[in-house]
C-alpha cells in the first residue's frame, strides 16, 4: 500500500522535531502506520493539498484551521504542538521598547508577512499604528542593516540567529497581545477521521510519543534533520530546540498537544472581529483530543 503522506509547511527544523523523532524511533511503524513526511517551502499550500485529498495529514497553523472552516473546508485539528504561539516581534534592544504597543507606536519599519491574522489584530487593537510596515520574506539581513527596524519572528529562530551574530535584541511574544493561536497543528480531513478513527488515534499517539522523545533529547533527531536541511547549522538546531521547549511543554495534568474548546473559541471570535472570516464558526467539532 502507498504510505500516508504528512505534509509539513516548512523545511526540517526543530519545530517539526517530534514528527521526525516519531519516524526515527519507529513509533509510526509500531502503530502500524506507514508515514511519509514531505517538507514544504515558501508558499506550499498544505491546507489546500489536504482539502483536495492530495495528502492525508498536514501541518497548519491554528488560524488556518478556523479560516478553512469558514470557507467550507472540513478539517479537524488533532495535535497542537505549540501551546503558546512562537510568533513574536523582534526589536533592537537599543530602542528600549517595553511592549508590543511601544513597537507599533514607534517610528521605523516593522516587517511582517502581509495578511497574517495577528497583523490585522494589532491594527485593530493598537489602532492607529505609527510604524511603517513592509513585507517580511525571511532572514535577518534587513534587520542587521537597519537599527530602527523591527520584524516578525519565531522566537525559536530569528532572535537566536540575531544574537549569534552579536546583535542585542528584545523579543515580544505575540501571545502577550492576547492573540495566541495554537501553532504547528496536525490536521486531517473529517472524512478520514470518521472513516478510520482508529488510524487517527494511532497517528496522534505516535506523534505524541515522538514529541516526548524530542523534548527529552533532541540531539539524535536534530542530526537526522540536519542532513535533510544543510542550511541550518547544528548549533542553531540545538539552540532552537531548547528555546521552543517551554512553548510546547504542557502542565502535568494535560497531555502534549491537547487543546481546549475555550481557546479555539477565543481564536474564532478574534478572527471574526478582525474580518478575516466573514461569519461565526462552530468550534466544538473542529478539533479532537485523543
Amino acid at each position: 500500500a502507498k504510505p500516508l503522506v504528512l505534509a509539513l509547511n516548512w523545511k526540517p527544523e526543530p519545530q517539526f522535531g517530534g514528527f521526525y523523532a516519531a519516524q526515527e524511533a519507529g513509533y509510526f511503524r509500531k502503530n502500524k502506520l506507514d508515514i511519509e513526511i514531505t517538507e514544504g517551502g515558501s508558499g506550499t499550500p498544505t491546507i489546500q493539498m489536504l482539502l483536495a485529498g492530495r495528502v492525508d495529514y498536514a501541518i497548519v497553523s491554528g488560524d488556518e484551521v478556523i479560516i478553512a472552516h469558514a470557507r467550507g473546508g472540513d478539517i479537524v485539528a488533532l495535535f497542537a504542538t505549540y501551546q503558546v504561539s512562537p510568533q513574536g516581534i523582534m526589536t533592537h534592544a537599543s530602542r528600549g521598547f517595553e511592549s508590543i504597543e511601544d513597537v507599533v507606536h514607534g517610528d521605523g519599519v516593522l516587517l511582517w508577512q502581509s495578511g497574517l491574522p495577528y497583523s490585522q489584530f494589532f491594527r485593530m487593537k493598537y489602532a492607529p499604528l505609527k510604524v511603517t510596515t513592509a513585507p517580511y520574506l525571511g532572514g535577518i539581513g534587513n534587520f542587521r542593516n537597519d537599527a530602527k527596524l523591527s520584524q516578525q519572528c519565531f522566537v525559536t529562530s530569528e532572535p537566536l540567529e540575531a544574537e549569534a551574530v552579536g546583535l542585542k535584541v528584545k523579543t515580544f511574544l505575540v501571545a502577550e497581545s492576547g492573540y495566541n493561536p495554537y501553532t504547528t497543528v496536525l490536521v486531517t480531513r473529517r472524512a478520514r477521521l470518521e472513516k478510520s478513527p482508529d488510524e487517527v488515534k494511532r497517528m496522534v499517539g505516535a506523534v505524541r510519543a515522538g514529541w516526548k522523545d524530542y523534548l527529552s533529547d533532541a540531539v539524535p533527531t536534530n542530526r537526522v534533520m540536519g542532513d535533510l536541511n544543510k542550511a541550518m547549522s547544528a548549533e542553531t538546531f540545538s539552540a532552537s530546540a531548547a528555546a521552543q521547549h517551554s512553548l510546547i511543554q504542557t502542565t502535568a495534568e494535560t497531555e502534549l498537544g491537547s487543546m481546549t474548546q475555550e481557546r479555539w473559541q477565543t481564536l474564532a471570535d478574534q478572527l471574526l472581529a478582525i474580518d478575516v472570516i466573514p461569519k461565526p464558526v462552530k468550534v466544538d467539532t473542529l478539533f479532537a483530543n485523543f
Binding site: L51, A52, I67, R71, G72, G115, P135, L137, V276
Partner: protein, 257 residues
Amino acid sequence: MLGALRDWIAEKFPAWIFLGGLLSVWQLVVAQEWVAAYLLPSPTQIFTTTFTLWPEIWAATLSTAYSICWGLGFSILIGVSLALLFFAIPLVRRAVLPFCIFFQTVPIIAIAPLLVIWFGFGDPTVRASAFIVSLFPILANTLTGLQETDPQLRELYRLYRPSPWQLIVKLQLPSALPYMLTGIRISAGLAVIGAIVGEFIAGGGIGSLIDAARTQQRVDLVFSGVLMSSVLALSLVFAIELLSRLLLQGRPYLRKV
C-alpha cells in the same frame, strides 16, 4: 484613425468570443464542483469579489500600473541602448551579454534584501524588479533585429558615409522594428510579473493584495488580483500594438523590393 480603431475592435472580436466560452466552461467546472471552490473560485465569485472590494483593488491596480510603466519604460530605454552598444562594439557584446542572462535567472526573492537596501521599501524596489525581469527580451530581440539588418541595405547606406547615429535611426532601428516590438510585447508581460513579485518583497499594489489574500486562503481575492494583473498586461500589449500601428501606418517594413 477612427477607421483603424474600428478595424481593431473587429479584429479583437474572436478573442471576446473565446473569452466568453472560457468563462462559461470555468463557471460550469466550479458549479459542478469538479474543482472545489476553495481551490478555484468561479468567475462570478471573482467578479463579485472584485466589485465588492473595488476601491482597494482599483487603488492597488493603479499603483502597480504605475510601477510597471516605469519598469518597462526603463527596460525599453536601457534594453535598446544596450542592444545598440553591443551591436556597435562586438567585443563588449561578447564580454557582457552572457551576464545579462544572469539578470534573467536570479530569483528576485533571493536578492530581496539587497534590493530593499538599495532601493528602499515601496515603489522604487517594485520598479527595479519590473525592470530587471523585463530587460532581457527587449535587449535580445533588438540585438537580433539589428544583426539581421539586410547587409545589402547596409552597404547602400555606407556609400553615403552616414554618422553612426544616422545609420541607427534611418536603417537599423526601422529594420529591427518587428523584432523590437515582439521583444516589447514579451517584456510587457514580464514587467507585470516583475512588479507583482517586487510588491511581494517591498509591499504595495496588487502584489501585496495577492500575498495577503493567499495567507488568508482568500482564493477569490487572489484571482481578483491575478485578473487585474492580466488586464494590465493585456492593456499594455494592446497599447503597444495600437501605437506601433500608428507609427507604421501602412509602411511596408521589412518587405523586400
